[in-house]
Symmetry: C2
């Protein structure tokens, strides 16, 4: 069952780690690389993992989707969600009848355009819980966690989702197939939307600094409350204790730099829209007041631009 | 009338510029310097001014107020307003009977402690509208404006205020003696409280970037609205068009870095409490919701700490 063909588009930390795991499960995994193409074509990926180091030699390494000669059963998108990355244009050449598109990305409202552009293809939305980054060309550092959740967008389960999920589990990746993936996107967002921007705007602070600075932690809690209200307008009833449990979790976790702070420090573009802007726009459309989010968004958009100019 | 004795405490840009003007008006102006003591003792100040360059050789240059041998008619405080600068302890040795204390500083609620510490001395509160900074030891750059307003704290006029104001006017400094100085502090704050922190938190942007970025300008307008509400709770009825006129003024002013941004870029401490924190605390005591101000304050306190560590 596992000789499915997989094409990973955006082979950074997340893409190469999970792609490597699917290869271990027997799938035929190819990758589309940009900056690291030469290195990966020659050597594949070396993955330093908390679960044991391993190598991943993709079945094929391509510069773009148009070079991919096969029909992928799964086309897994692991690019950052950025306005300058047009996922539809990038993946179009490799989306064939029968290809399931899997979005393994951060944020909210990231599926709608893709679903509209490829109405004949199954769209699987997936969330990664993992600390992993690319440390130079083709060298991957997997530091923490490594779970997945996935489900059909906008809701429901499917055979293809179950099969992919089973392959991950076979390779030792805890992956849960769920029929309400959007719910879990909101749950993750309740953490991401506050901690990511605050870590950047408060002068570049890790989670420990946030958790031990009352005004910053209070700000995160208030932002969480706003995100919960916005989720509520979408019919998502988040667990009552979600804010307190996020605060506790973060307090007890080892000091950790958010992915947005890492991007900021490396002068890379931030996922502002997927993680903050889209929540704000949903709030505005539903006329839910979110003053804290609004402030953070305005400052973050500008700080991101200044940081790269 | 103008042979009054003046002691300037905190001889940076503001102190030496206005001190130099009082000397031109015939007053006997001495200064207390710290970092620039040796240079100023030897050479005095060289002031490059948009109104014509001039030198200022103080009558006396001292390392601390305890060295000042005279009784000052005016002790003018021009230090930054920072928690680590204890103005009361600094000026105490030079405050004698008959010495009027003049606070020529930014912010709100900066007078109360001083008034309580020196109940027998007149306290004059003054606001400077000026673009001036110290460019190396004893070299001052006066770039723009240069007006003053002053009045007795908490309200009223006095002979000493009028005399000081007249001396400034005699030296070509437009100085208005007013009986409601706190009102003008709030008016100035309506600009300072938004633009200063936003210029820092938005990634280090000048007024032109703020004015041409809709989300940032909107944020400033919303912060102004909050400051006006807080001022209202103090009985200050600010002009109805103050927000629009601040927006227009800033749009039409040449691109300008706020004093807080200049401090931030030079890794100097920011006047967070005088300009933002005190407004927030007044709001909290009066139970006025100021979510935008609250967000900006939490982020700014942390960014300031990180910037200097």
């Amino acid at each position: 069952m596992n000789n499915n063909k997989v094409l990973i588009v955006g082979a950074g930390g997340v893409g190469s780690y999970f792609g490597g795991r699917l290869a271990q499960a027997g799938m035929e995994v190819s990758v589309v690389c940009r900056s690291n193409y030469e290195k990966v074509k020659k050597n594949g990926f070396e993955i330093k993992s908390v679960n044991g180091d391993f190598s991943f030699k993709p079945a094929g390494v391509y510069r773009s989707c148009s070079e991919y000669p096969e029909t992928a059963d799964y086309l897994i998108v692991t690019t950052k969600v950025l306005p300058e990355i047009n996922v539809i244009e990038i993946i179009k050449p490799a989306v064939r009848p029968g290809t399931a598109i899997v979005l393994l990305q951060n944020g909210i409202e990231i599926e709608k355009n893709i679903a509209a552009a490829f109405p004949g293809n199954e769209l699987i939305s997936s969330i990664a819980y993992i600390g992993v980054f690319q440390n130079g060309n083709g060298r991957i550092e997997h530091l923490a966690s490594g779970r997945l959740k996935m489900g059909v967008y906008p809701g429901g389960l499917s055979e293809k989702t179950k099969l992919l999920s089973a392959a991950f589990n076979q390779a030792g990746v805890e992956c849960e197939a769920v029929d309400n993936i959007e719910f879990f996107r909101w749950v993750k967002l309740v953490w991401n939307t506050p901690y990511n921007p605050v870590s950047v705007l408060a002068g570049g602070v890790d989670t420990k600094v946030i958790s031990t600075t009352k005004t910053l932690e209070d700000l995160c809690a208030t932002l969480m409350k706003e995100v919960c209200a916005v989720a509520g307008s979408r019919g998502m009833e988040l667990p009552e204790n979600i804010i307190q449990s996020n605060l506790d979790y973060t307090r007890n976790f080892p000091p950790y730099k958010t992915s947005m702070l890492l991007d900021f420090e490396n002068k890379r573009p931030l996922e502002v829209e997927a993680i903050v802007g889209n929540v704000l726009r949903i709030a505005q459309a539903a006329e839910i007041p979110v003053p804290y989010l609004e402030t953070v968004y305005a400052l973050l958009v500008s700080a991101d631009i200044q940081n790269r100019s």
